[in-house]
Each structure stands twice: as C-alpha cells, then as structure tokens.
C-alpha cells in the first residue's frame, strides 16, 4: 500500500509538473518553496520522483514520510 510523502523543493513550481512528479499535489509555500504531497506507491516510485526533481535542477530540501498505508482500505 502507498505511503504518503511530503517532498519540499526550492522555488515555486507550476501545476503542469504534477503529472511528471508522480501525480503529487503541488502546494506553494510562502517561504518560496514548494511542497509536493501525496501517496507514493513504493520505493521505486519515490526514487522516480526524486530523479525527476534532479533532472529539473530543483534543489531538494527534504523528503518525509508523513503517513503509513491508508488504514481504511481493507486488506484481503
């Protein structure tokens, strides 16, 4: 199950990048940073997002896992 991640990069990003960055939601912060938030399906997907951040030359400030797998989904 997907964990939720918060990834902070320097600079304000346009919404068009959301599809390129694993579909994470783009939140612009007042301190001039952007926070990308959303479920990331596994480690490979997380690294994929980070590689795209690298390829855009965006300074990466932090990566945090904020929540474990959604508990409202029944496992079966």
């Amino acid at each position: 199950m997907a964990d939720t991640y918060r990834i902070r990069v320097k600079g304000h990003l346009d919404d068009r990048w959301s599809d390129w960055l694993g579909g994470l939601a783009i939140h612009l912060q007042e301190d001039g940073t952007t926070v990308l938030v959303g479920p990331v399906v596994d480690q490979a997907a997380l690294h994929g997002v980070i590689i795209r951040i690298r390829d855009l030359g965006l300074p990466l400030l932090s990566v945090r896992r904020v929540a474990g797998p959604h508990s409202n989904t029944k496992q079966g």
Partner: protein, 871 residues
C-alpha cells in the same frame, strides 16, 4: 522526398545486429566549443591535472555547463597531444551490449581496430560474461602506446547495475594510459570514496561549475550581447545562484526588451522555479510557428530537418533548426554537417511538459508520425521506441515481429526483452509469433522460469487454427500475425525452446523428446531453427553416451545451420564432432574433422569465422594425446594469435585448460594449477555438456601433488560416490574419484578405499566399452593397473596395462632408450650429450614417456617402467 534529404546518422556496426540496432554516429560526436563562449581557464586547469588520475567526475545538476566545459577542454588540447573519445549516453545504453558497443566504437574513433576482439565477443550469439569481454578489452587497450581519455556524458541515464559493475571493474583494472571522464547529474554508484581516498580521481561539482560573478558578467554582456549594469548582473547572479541554464534563459528573455532593469527586478523578486518563469517568457516572445515547432518537436530525442518536417505540419525543419542554433535556443548540434541536433535536455523536458499540458491529445499523434518516419527510413528500433512512447502498442508489436528473428540470432535480446515488457500482456498474448519470440528471448537471457506462460500463449492460437470444428466458439480476441513465415515455424520453434529449456535444467529425455518434435514440426526451409533443434537432439545423445548417434546427428545439424547461412556455428560445432571422435579413441578422424573445418573456415577469408581459433585448441589437445608437447604448445600459440575475434565464447577457458594440461604433462604442476584457476575465472557455460570439468582437472593435479584433503573436499562438494549411477557426462568425474580413492589407499593402507576404487573402475570400464568409448577405456585400464600396483600386486597390474597398450600407442624406441639412461641415474644434460640431441628434445621425450606411463616425476617413472618390464 524524405529519403533523399535524409542522410544516415549511423556508423557501421560490426555483426548482423546492425540490421536492427545500428550505432548512431551522433552519439560519438564530440561537441564543438566555439570561441566566443565564456572560457573557463580555472576549470580547464583542473581537468588537465585530473588526466594523471584514473577518473574525472563532473557531477552537477542539469544546466551547469558540464558538456560545454568538456568541449572547451578538448578544444584546448590538440588531438596530437592526447586523443579523446566521446559517448553521449541515452536510455538505450542500459542494454549492456549496446553500452559497450558504443564504448568500444568510441575507442576506435581514436585508434582503429582497438577493442575489435571484445566487440565481436559482445556480438556473438551467446556473449560471454562481461568480465571476459572487459579482460579482453583491457588487454587490447594495453597495446595502445599513447595516453588517451574517454568521456562518458550523461552517465546518469544509466541505471543498469551490470553497466555500473563493469565500469567499477574497468576502473579497478584501468590501463595506465587510459583516463576516464564521467559527466553526470548525480554521483554514479561507483566506489567514489575509495578512488578519492587513494587520490585516483578528481571531481568537479556544482560549486565549481556555477558562474562566478565575473563569468556571469562576461556571459551576459559579451556572449549574449546584453549591456547590463554591474548591479543587474549581480541581481541575476544571485537569483540564479550562478546556474548557467538559468542565466541563459534570462538572457534570452531580455533580448530586445526595452525595460531590462524592470524585468530583472521582477524576476529577482519572484519565487517561481526559474525555468518555469523564464521558459514562458522565452516561448511567449517567439512567433507562433516557432513556438509550435518547439512544442511539437520536443518529443524527439534527436532532430533532423526531414524528421521535424514529418512530425510538425511545417515544412522548413532544417532552416528552423539552424535558426534555433544561431539564436542560442538550447539546440545542440550532433554533427559537423548540420544534419542532426538535439535540445538541451532540461529545455526539452520543459517543452514536453508544456506540450503535454497544452495539447495532451496531440502528443501520441506526434509519436506516431515520428515512428512512421523512422520506419520508412529503415530504423525499426527508433520506430518501435516512439510507438511505445505514444502508447501505440499495436503498432509497436507490429514493428517488433519482423525484427524478432534477426534479433533472436544476433544479440539484441536484452533490447527486445525491454520492448516486450513494455507491451500489455494481453496484446502479446494475442500475437503468437511475438509470444514465441518472447519465450526465446527469455531463454537466452536466462529467465527460464518465465518461459512457460509465453509458450502457452503462443500455443493457444495454434490449437485454435488446427481445430476445424464448426461449433467452436470464436475466441474473444482475434489472433494477430504480421509475419506469416514466422508463424509457420512457430510450432517447431516452441518445441525447440522447450528442448533448450530441458537441456538447461539437465533433463536429457525431455531435451530429446522436444527436439524430435521440433524437427517434425519445423518447415523444411527453416534451416536455422532446424539446425538448432538437431544440435539439441545430438547433445542429448552425447549426454547419454551414445557417441555414434550423437556424431551423425550433430553433423546433420551443422549442415543445416550452414544452409541457413550460419557458418560460425558450423565452425564451432567442429569442436564437438572432433571431441566425440577423441572420446571414441579415433584420434585420426578427430584430426581430419578439424582439418576439414579449418579448410572451410579459410575459404571464408576475412574475417576469420568464429570457432577457427578453437580448432587449433582441439588440434593441440590431440597432439598432447600423442605426447608431442612442443607441437601442442605451438598450436595453442597459433590459436592465441587468431585471438578472440575468431573464437567461440568458451574459447578462453578451453585454451587455458589445454595449456594447463601441457604444463601438467611437463611436470609443472603448480603452473598447471594456476592456469586452471584462470580457466575457472574465464569459464563460459555453453549448452554443450562439460565433459572434462575444470574442478576435476584440478583435483587430478592435487592427487599428483599428494594434496589428498583438498581432493577429498572436491569429492564431497560434488557429492560423488562409488555407488552412483554411471553416465557418460559424469565419467570424467568418476574416473577422477577412482584416482582420489587410490591415492587415499596409498597414504593409508588400512583404508578400504581401494576396494571401492576397483569396483567403480570395473563398472566404468564396462560402461565405456558398451558406449564404444575407446579413449575412456584406455584411461580406465591404466587406473585399474595402478590400483593393482598400489596393492603391490604387479602380476595383476600387467594385464590391464597390456590391454591399454594394445589399444593405445606404446613407448617409442627413443623414449625407452632415454628412460633407461634416466634409470641409470643420468641427468638430462648428460643424456643430451650422450645421444647428441638437444636438452629440450630430451625433456620432450621424457614428458611423453611420463604421459604414457601416467606418472609425473623421475623416480616414479623409472619404478613404473621397471615394474612393467619396459626397460
């Protein structure tokens, strides 16, 4: 008239694989640095210092001028002073075969022919492990006299671990005249800390590469032709933090603008991601046709005029590209002829994001046009890539089917596998030919477990087509076949894959059954697959010890491969045929087999077919059997001269093992063991059963050295026992076991091992006699004699020995004469003087006699010869 305007960007790739994945010359093009750009002497100086070390790493995010810096460095160094090769890597280089093909071809731009052996190893149908290829390559590089550098640009696109491991291996063994430069957006997974610690690398990083204020001023005012105040320059430098791509975008945004200071103020006070901010500024300032051209062509990895014309609705691709280059709009030329370009990667990413946002429905259409253009220009690999990128899977599958066969037989299996994995499973499942190719590719990339479902997919349709009953429900999906001829071969191909898979897991009856089935099913005209199936059937016979049948069938298989145009397998197959004759004790026929095949190989002319070098190894082994060690050594040298480019993949280890056995016959046991260790390191597994395993050869030497513990360790490791069922494929190991047991008895007379050895040898002899393996019978008889001798029962020892001698060659008169002098206590030099022959001739005769007597030193030889009343 696309075809006329289009000039191929390819270089000639060796091997038939060129038909489907030609090497692109543009990837080897060294970017030109033009005077007028900002010169960076402090960095050039550091690069010059780095040349003394193994590795220079230029590691920084996109847009920090890595490529431009390296181009300036090369422009500043005359080629006469130091040659340099260049590879611009891309995604396709995650196929190690392609990566190393480019790597070696780049070396060849500096020194033609270098790495040729390694390259042809890569292109063999079953390439050896990469370490063998690299060892060959390193040897070839060592022959270069002058220092040189090789630059790998955009290394970050590589995520294939086999490539990283191989580069690490190369760095560990890097010849001193070579220097490697890696440019990457992130640090490559190489042992960088170790290289750093030993002072074997230098690194240029973002902090080194970013423009200092004076460089920023020079760039903006001199290169980009702006006239900015120091304060404006400082503001831009601060906002971009010296990021060169950012400064270039800013400069483009400011061109022709009235209120430059106002623009800078707005830009400096904005938090937006620099590229988002500036690309919009730049795009907005382009005429609509240019803007549209940029967005549409952003899906292309490489740009040429005709290709752009095909993808855009506009006509003037070539002129447009030249104008973009003149305008510094992030277009990078890929050759000197102004034919191929690419966008700066970062710029291309942003353009693509814009294209996706503005016209998401159009992007697949653009990919389709690119795919069609590549298809019509004979570049199926690129056509397939674009079809996959546009998610036009039907089209991709249709393009893949016809290139399947050539890629099946000439490498390219990794690439084909990557494409197949990108297709939806259901689609592959509806295409029987593609499913069959999938199974074949899985087999040849070692994924034996994944084969069966693919074969079932393919077979599902065969059952449907053969079932003519009217009541049958029509299938929910329709079968799709592009290549009808391939479809006719499919049932046979499926059986051939099953035969090969059975062979790979040691299932001999299964191999034979499926191989027979394949031969029933395959069309008469499919000589290649028939040849493969026949050879598999022969190997099943060989494994079960029926040598006569194996010989006849294998010869048929080779003839079929030859009809299919596969001379190389035909050549390497001679080795197996001769090997069979050797086991049968028909040494003269073995020699004749090699000579016929050598004749055929020579008729081919240059390049010498693969497997030719192996035949000299075989002839050497035969000479060794005849105890002519000097001739055997000469033949191995001849084989080495021909080199790997004329060899089958297992040549390296066989050559080493052959040389080891010559050393052993000469009494140099330690030397023999060293060579066998090397043979083990170079070992390359083929579908042909390994009848004389290297570990068993080593054990025999250890027995001769009295290293019994190690020999017994091998017995345990192999799980050998005197009660085993006997099979031809384990015969050599079982005879070795008997040798170990006899040695054990010699060291401890109380040990029961001698009875076990005698029982095993008797069973082995009967089996060998039944299989008509005279060569084996002789060896077993000698061991039986030694077993009797170990029990001090000389009369019993004589009987098997006499039988062995009647089957094999006796000692020559000269050998007996020399042994008598040895027995009289004379040294070799004295013998040479007495007989008026050279010292080396004396040694050769003695070695021959040792070989025939099965001994390894003087006193043993004399004792044995006395026991046998030979003196």
């Amino acid at each position: 008239m696309i075809g006329q305007a289009y000039n191929s960007p390819m270089v000639d790739a060796p091997g038939q694989g060129a038909a489907t994945s030609p090497l692109l010359e543009t990837k080897l093009y060294i970017p030109k640095w033009r005077p007028g750009l900002v010169s960076r002497p402090r960095l050039i100086e550091r690069l010059d210092q780095g040349i003394e070390r193994k590795l220079t790493l230029v590691s920084a995010p996109a847009g920090f001028g890595k490529t431009t810096l390296l181009a300036e460095w090369l422009a500043a160094t005359p080629a006469s002073e130091r040659a340099t090769g260049w590879v611009s890597l891309d995604q396709s280089d995650n196929d190690p075969a392609l990566f190393w093909a480019y790597f070696i071809t780049a070396l060849q731009t500096m020194r033609s022919g270098v790495g040729g052996n390694a390259l042809s190893l890569l292109h063999s149908p079953q390439p050896p492990p990469i370490e063998s290829v690299l060892t060959t390559l390193i040897n070839e590089i060592n022959a270069i006299e002058d220092d040189f550098a090789l630059i790998l640009d955009d290394y970050h696109v590589v995520d294939a671990q086999p490539v990283h491991s191989a580069i690490a291996f190369l760095l560990d063994h890097l010849p001193p005249q070579m220097h490697l430069v890696i440019a990457s957006r992130s640090d490559p997974p190489l042992p960088l800390a170790r290289l750093r610690g030993r002072g074997e690398s230098i690194e240029l990083r973002a902090s080194d590469l970013r423009f200092a204020p004076d460089e920023a001023a020079a760039f903006l005012n001199e290169v980009m032709g702006l006239d900015l105040s120091a304060a404006d320059v400082a503001a831009l430098e601060t906002r971009t933090e010296g990021w060169i791509a950012g400064l270039q975008l800013a400069a483009l945004s400011m061109r022709g603008r009235e209120d430059v200071s106002g623009f800078i103020k707005a830009f400096a006070g904005d938090d937006r991601y620099i590229v988002d901010y500036l690309v919009e500024e730049v795009l907005q300032r382009q005429p609509e046709r240019v803007r549209s051209f940029l967005l549409q062509t952003s899906i292309l990895d490489r740009l040429s005029g005709p290709l752009c014309d095909a993808v855009t609705d506009q006509g003037e691709g070539k002129g447009r590209l030249e104008a973009l280059e003149r305008g510094n709009l992030f277009v990078v030329p890929l050759d000197d002829k102004r034919q191929w370009y690419r966008y700066h990667h970062l710029f291309a990413d942003v353009l693509r994001a814009h294209a996706m946002e503005e016209q998401p429905d159009r992007v697949p259409i653009l990919h389709r046009r690119a795919s069609e253009w590549y298809e019509h220009n004979g570049l199926p690999a690129d056509a397939i890539r674009h079809a996959l990128a546009g998610e036009d899977f039907e089209r991709a599958a249709g393009l893949m089917e016809p290139v399947g066969r050539p890629m099946m037989f000439t490498g390219g299996q990794e690439t084909m596998l990557g494409w197949l994995k990108a297709l939806p499973d259901a689609l592959v499942g509806s295409r029987p030919v593609l499913s069959g190719i999938y199974a074949w590719v899985l087999l040849h990339t070692g994924q034996v477990d994944a084969i069966e479902p693919r074969l079932r997919d393919a077979e599902r349709w065969l059952e449907t087509t053969s079932d003519t009953s009217e009541e049958q429900e029509p299938p929910l999906v329709e079968m799709v076949v592009v290549d009808e001829e391939e479809f006719r071969s499919l049932p046979g191909m499926i059986a051939a894959v099953r035969a090969a898979r059975a062979g790979a897991v040691g299932d001999v009856p299964g191999t034979a059954e499926y191989a027979r089935r394949a031969l029933e099913l395959l069309p008469e005209g499919d000589h290649l697959l028939r040849g493969v199936a026949t050879a598999l059937l022969a190997l099943a016979y060989l494994t079960s010890g029926d040598l006569d049948a194996a010989y006849g069938i294998f010869a048929d298989g080779m003839a079929s491969l030859k009809l299919g145009g596969d001379i190389q397998h035909n050549t390497s197959g001679a080795y197996i045929l001769a090997d069979i004759r050797m086991a049968q004790g028909r040494l003269h026929e073995a020699v004749a087999t090699y000579q016929q095949s050598l004749q055929l190989a020579m008729e081919q002319g240059e390049p010498v077919p693969r497997g030719t070098a192996d035949m000299y190894v075989g002839l050497s082994e035969l000479q060794r059997e005849h105890d002519d060690l000097e001739a055997a050594t000469q033949l191995l040298l001849k084989s080495k001269e021909l080199g790997e480019r004329a060899a089958a993949p297992d040549w390296q280890h066989r050559r080493c093992a052959a040389l080891a056995q010559i050393k052993e016959a000469q009494g140099d046991l330690d030397g023999a063991l060293d060579l066998l260790d090397e043979a083990e390191r170079l070992y390359y597994r083929t579908p042909v059963p390994d009848l004389r395993p290297i570990a068993a050869l080593k054990t025999r030497i250890r027995v001769a050295q009295g290293r019994l513990t190690e020999a017994l360790g091998w017995v345990r490791e192999r799980g050998l026992s005197v009660d085993d069922d006997l099979s031809y494929i384990r015969e050599f190991e079982h005879v070795t076991l008997a040798r170990v047991l006899i040695a054990r008895y010699r060291s401890d007379r109380a040990d029961r091992s001698i009875d076990e050895a005698m029982g095993l040898l008797e069973r082995l002899r009967k089996a060998a006699e039944e299989g008509g393996r005279t060569g084996s019978v002789i060896e077993i008889l000698v061991q039986q004699a030694l077993a009797h001798e170990a029990q001090d029962d000389l009369p019993s020892a004589l009987e098997p020995l006499e039988r062995a001698l009647s089957l094999a060659e006796p000692l020559t008169g000269r050998e007996v004469e020399i042994l008598r002098l040895v027995a009289a206590g004379m040294r070799n030099q004295e013998i040479a003087e007495q007989l008026f022959i050279s010292l080396s001739t004396v040694k050769r005769h003695i070695a021959n006699a040792y070989g025939k007597l099965g001994v390894s030193h003087r006193t043993e030889a004399v004792a044995r010869a006395n026991e046998l009343n030979l003196l």
